[in-house]
């Protein structure tokens, strides 16, 4: 009798563990669709591109476009702004990486690797702290100390190359993928 009982016990244990494991795997598999449905749908993934005519933008001016639902800064920099961006030592920056989608991830944040054509700085207008749109700095209405942008949400300051210089934001403003079609037309995305 004792042998039978312990035998039955082992078989029962096995069935119990096996059924439990299959059930657990099944529960996770069943949960996945309900989790994944929250990720961007195929519609949202079909990313768009935007073509921008640059002729209307004056030196020293920035125009904000909408790209993939978010603001895109296109800034025509003055020679003084380009100079001040070039004068900075990359190693002294809080974020030394270029964050340029057109270059390898390891590219450094030299001004030439932030703006392929020095006159045109094209960056996403999304503060890398918590996503606000930073305010542009002009000689008439300065925003922050570095001549680029100031994010009013929590005080992050960017320079004329869109690099983070001060405040809580961890990264430089992102440079989106773009190509110049002609000297005055650029395709973003």
């Amino acid at each position: 009798m004792a042998a039978t009982t312990s035998d039955a016990g082992t078989r029962r244990d096995f069935l119990y563990v096996a059924a439990g494991s299959v059930g657990a795997v099944g529960a996770v598999a069943a949960a996945w669709p309900f989790i994944d449905q929250m990720n961007p749908s195929t519609g949202a993934l079909a990313l768009g591109s935007t073509e921008i005519d640059l002729t209307a933008i004056q030196p020293g001016q920035q125009i904000v476009y909408k790209w993939r639902g978010q603001p895109l800064f296109v800034r025509r920099r003055t020679p003084a702004e380009i100079e001040s961006a070039k004068a900075v030592d990359v190693n002294s920056l809080p974020d030394p990486l270029a964050r340029n989608a057109n270059l390898p991830d390891t590219a450094l944040a030299n001004d030439a690797d932030r703006a392929t054509k020095p006159e045109w700085l094209i960056v996403k207008g999304v503060c890398t702290h918590l996503g606000c749109t930073p305010a542009v700095s002009t000689p008439q209405i300065p925003e922050g100390e570095y001549g680029g942008w100031l994010c009013h949400c929590h005080g992050s300051e960017y320079d004329t190359s869109g690099r983070i210089r001060k405040g809580p934001a961890p990264e430089n403003l992102a440079v989106p993928p773009y190509t110049f079609m002609t000297d005055t037309r650029v395709k973003v995305g």
């Binding site: 949202a44 639902g69 978010q70 603001p71 702290h129 961890p170």
Partner: protein
């Protein structure tokens, strides 16, 4: 809900029901005869007020949802339609919007009450932790609700708060995208927030049942913080506390109605009467007042990840309070040192709230507000993690009264309660 029952079914029908589904017994024991300390003061009426607030939010919310449209192109106008065209829509929306503020006002009073009288101490640790959970759920619900009108503050508040998750190393950006259902806050985000805003209040209602269950096992704490020792220390919940709660509820409703009818946008932000614009952030992003202290902590730290950790830590800290307080005495009435540090905490929380409402670089009375926020944040954490454990060990508490009855009735103790 627990303990021996005093229910005595009178009629045949009551006995018939009692043998099948003893719901009347449950209600009788929970809200009728439940023995309650006889010395509960005004600060103990906020539990009932909170239940009222939840009911108000659910009733006004469900009626708003009959007219509201959760679509990024239509949401703002549907709220304007509620305000202008729907019969009494203005009233229902103003009750709902101000109701959220009243709810938080009540919960903050309720929580500071618990801190002052040591209501988190054994055997009420789980009661306290369930309370913290309700507070978290309330913050999530109110945050989702604030997004729904799809004004400028709705949109940018949602952007900033959901971006907090992007601070998490490695997976942070994936979590943010998963929350948005897109690569930025948009229509997909609005829809799911509406779904969750509808769901969470009912989850809260369920957790409130657990909260009351966990209250009715050890029973109420009281302003003296000493245990109930004999039936003389208590009175039945009804009519003593039903009447007391109802009286203060009426005063609360008058206060509440004052805002709804005379200053309905007092707690609101004018920027939220502008439709959401993903290209322009308003010059000042301010959360609702009840989140300002946490927001001030976030802003006082010039590092993204650290800021988020500190902000989250401020809330998580609350869970550990039952074990951080080493004192044997519950109530601050008998803790001369702790009482002072407690009021220090209240002042710091108010200061943090004030700083959170200022711009980042604000300087008041020659003092940069960001430094005030830093010092107040340090005090907040020091209070729980250093002051609480140390004071409990070194402080000499005042002498505790022999019993609740003796403290309340003096020499008359021993005479039966009338």
């Amino acid at each position: 809900m627990s303990g021996p029952s005093t229910y005595n079914p009178q009629s045949g029908l009551e006995r018939w029901i009692d043998a099948r589904l003893p719901l009347p017994r449950l209600l009788h024991d929970t809200v009728h005869t439940f023995p309650t300390p006889r010395n509960l003061n005004i600060w103990y009426t906020f539990g009932g007020i909170l239940a009222f607030c939840l009911g108000v939010q659910i009733i006004t919310g469900i009626t708003l949802a009959m007219h509201y449209v959760a679509n990024a192109n239509l949401a703002f106008n549907s709220v304007e339609t509620i305000m202008r065209d729907v019969n009494y829509g203005w009233l229902i929306r103003y009750i709902h919007a101000n109701g959220a503020s009243m709810f938080f006002l009540a919960v903050y009073i309720h929580m500071f009450r618990g801190l002052y009288y040591g209501s988190y101490k054994a055997p009420r640790e789980l009661l306290w932790i369930i309370g913290v959970l309700i507070y978290l759920l309330m913050m999530a619900t109110a945050f989702f609700g604030y997004v729904l009108p799809w004004g400028q503050m709705s949109f940018w508040g949602a952007t900033v708060i959901t971006n907090l998750f992007s601070a998490i190393p490695v997976v942070g950006n994936h979590i943010a995208t998963w929350l948005w259902g897109d690569f930025a806050v948009g229509d997909a985000t609005l829809n799911r927030f509406f779904s969750l805003h509808y769901l969470l209040p009912f989850i809260i209602a369920g957790v409130v049942v657990l909260h009351i269950w966990a209250l009715h096992v050890p029973g109420n704490n009281n302003p003296l913080g000493i245990d109930v020792k004999s039936p003389q220390d208590t009175v039945p919940f009804h009519p003593y506390y039903t009447v007391k709660d109802a009286f203060y509820l009426v005063l609360f409703v008058i206060f509440f109605a004052g805002f709804v009818f005379y200053s309905p946008d007092f707690f609101g932000n004018p920027d939220n009467y502008q439709p959401a614009n993903p290209l322009v952030t308003p010059p000042e992003i301010v959360p609702e007042w009840y989140l300002l202290p946490f927001y001030a902590m976030l802003r006082s730290i010039p590092n993204k990840l650290l800021g988020v950790i500190v902000m989250g830590g401020a809330i998580v800290t609350l869970v550990f309070i039952p074990w951080l307080d080493t004192s044997r005495v519950r109530s601050c009435r008998f803790r001369p040192l702790m009482k002072q540090f407690f009021w220090g905490l209240v002042v710091c929380c108010v200061l943090l709230g004030y700083c959170g409402a200022q711009s980042v670089d604000a300087v008041k009375f020659g003092i940069p507000m960001v430094w005030v926020a830093r010092i107040a944040s340090i005090y907040y954490f020091a209070f729980f993690w250093l002051i609480m454990p140390i004071i409990g060990l070194i402080e000499t508490p005042k002498k505790l009264p022999a019993s609740i009855a003796q403290s309340v009735l003096g020499d008359k103790a021993g005479a039966p309660a009338e």
